[in-house]
Amino acid sequence: MRLTQGTFSYLPDLTDEEITAQIRYALDNNWPLSVEFTDDPHPRNTYWEMWGLPMFDLRDAAGVLMEVNACRTANPNAYVRLNAYDARLGRQTTALSFLVQRPAAEPGFRLDRAEGADRRIAYTTHAYATERPAGDRYTRG
């Protein structure tokens, strides 16, 4: 199952040129970027691992792409995303966030239904990948 999270996730995966163009757009808007990665892409997992600090001092897309590639090399079997932060007063939030790498094979999620009292049903999304310990997910298959 193809994970769809963040901007552009229903499009085909971006090429490096397209990623560079998006980075340039973010930098032109004065949005500093940061790289994050995870092997637990549950939709409610907002806390991905940070790859270094947010790059507040970079002015050019090539420098950001260098960090993206460094993160890809170090974590070839993880999801990697780029976040662009808009620091303007009144916004102060993530302005753009998109995936720049996904593992080769994505087992996907299953929906668990837990029946409670009074015919209530609780729903949970369960990622098949998390059945393996962290660091060992997405490495095979």
Binding site: R2, D13, D16, L58, R59, A61, A62, G63, V64
Partner: protein, 319 residues
């Protein structure tokens, strides 16, 4: 799972526009007008006095850009030229000033994407302990991407007497980046001629990766005079006719004296003349001053200088 293109790989090669036929003709003059190269060169000529080798090299780089564009239209492509430079010259010959302009210049010529300049010295590149240097240098390089990385007094990076110095590591990373990221940034090294020669002798890899070794010549007395006038004008001052004469004599004398630092000495002379002019106005007999008095540097302001001390000239003129 659906078939898809993995991240980072282009879906398909984009077809370039069809090349011109071999017997077509491209008008370089109109291409030159459109590119705005002449504006860039003209402002450079106006604002920088002397420095002929520098201006020649910039004109050559600009010409190459136009020719490359014309070649491209015929389908002949060559990779971007190496633009790393080294500026050598005596103190005060304008190395730093030109480097600051170079970033903007290369940006306007279309060789750099953003045209900002990151100016660093040894402190910013070399770490204090093992493993500290590489991330530090890489951080600086990432910041300079798309612009110019200017390393002032580059010879401090390499300390021959201490083989455990971390400077060598910084140089190694720089060399790698100068080779692999040629399209992303331009590295400019600057320093005094003799020490830069030693630096290059110890780092032949650096020497060969720099395509443009530009030597900044010393200024002639006439050029220094023009620089002095321009500096005063930038500060909102002008020299009275007598002061102008004195400035010329001052510079002729100063050139031969120790610690002469070209344009920097001129700047110091102008600054000191400013101080003396202010004091002269405050202590003068007439406390009311007009715009002309406030903006004019008179002969005595310059004659009070130590440069004239060893002769009777100052008294004879002032008296």
């Amino acid at each position: 799972m659906t078939e898809r293109q993995p991240f980072g790989r282009p879906a398909a090669e984009e077809a370039p526009p069809p090349p011109l036929s071999p017997d077509a003709v491209v008008d370089l003059a109109s291409a030159r007008r459109e590119s705005g190269v002449d504006d860039v060169l003209a402002t450079l000529g106006e604002e920088l006095v002397g420095l002929v080798p520098v201006k020649t090299r910039i004109a050559e780089i600009a010409a190459l850009l136009l020719v490359d564009r014309a070649r491209e239209r015929f389908g002949v492509t060559a990779p971007r030229p190496t633009l790393h430079m080294s500026f050598t010259g005596n103190p005060g010959t304008g190395k730093t000033t030109v480097a600051l302009r170079m970033a903007e210049l290369l940006h306007r010529l279309g060789y750099l994407r953003s045209g900002h300049l990151v100016s660093v010295t040894r402190d910013d590149l070399v770490g204090q302990y093992v493993g500290h240097t590489a991330p530090k240098t890489k951080d600086v390089i990432k910041r300079a991407m798309g612009g110019v990385l200017f390393i002032d007094e580059a010879y401090y990076l390499y300390k021959a007497e201490n083989e455990r110095d971390y400077g060598g590591e910084a140089i190694e990373i720089l060399l790698q980046v100068m080779e692999n990221h040629r399209d992303d940034l331009v590295v400019i090294l600057a320093g005094y001629a003799d020490r830069m020669d030693t630096f290059f002798a110890a780092n032949p890899g650096m020497q060969s990766r720099i395509a443009h070794h530009i030597t900044f010549p010393d200024y002639s007395a006439a050029e220094l005079e023009l620089i002095g006038v321009l500096m005063a004008r930038a500060l909102g001052y002008r020299f009275s006719p007598e002061a102008h004469q004195v400035l010329r004599r001052y510079l002729n004398r100063r050139v031969g004296q120790p610690w002469f630092a070209n344009a920097r000495s001129v700047r110091n002379a102008v600054e000191r003349a400013r101080l003396r002019q202010a004091r002269r106005l405050l202590e003068g007999p007439d406390p009311r001053v007009g715009l002309a008095a406030l903006t004019t540097i008179e002969a005595p302001d310059l004659l009070a200088s130590r440069v004239f001390e060893d002769t009777a000239e100052s008294e004879s003129i002032a008296g």
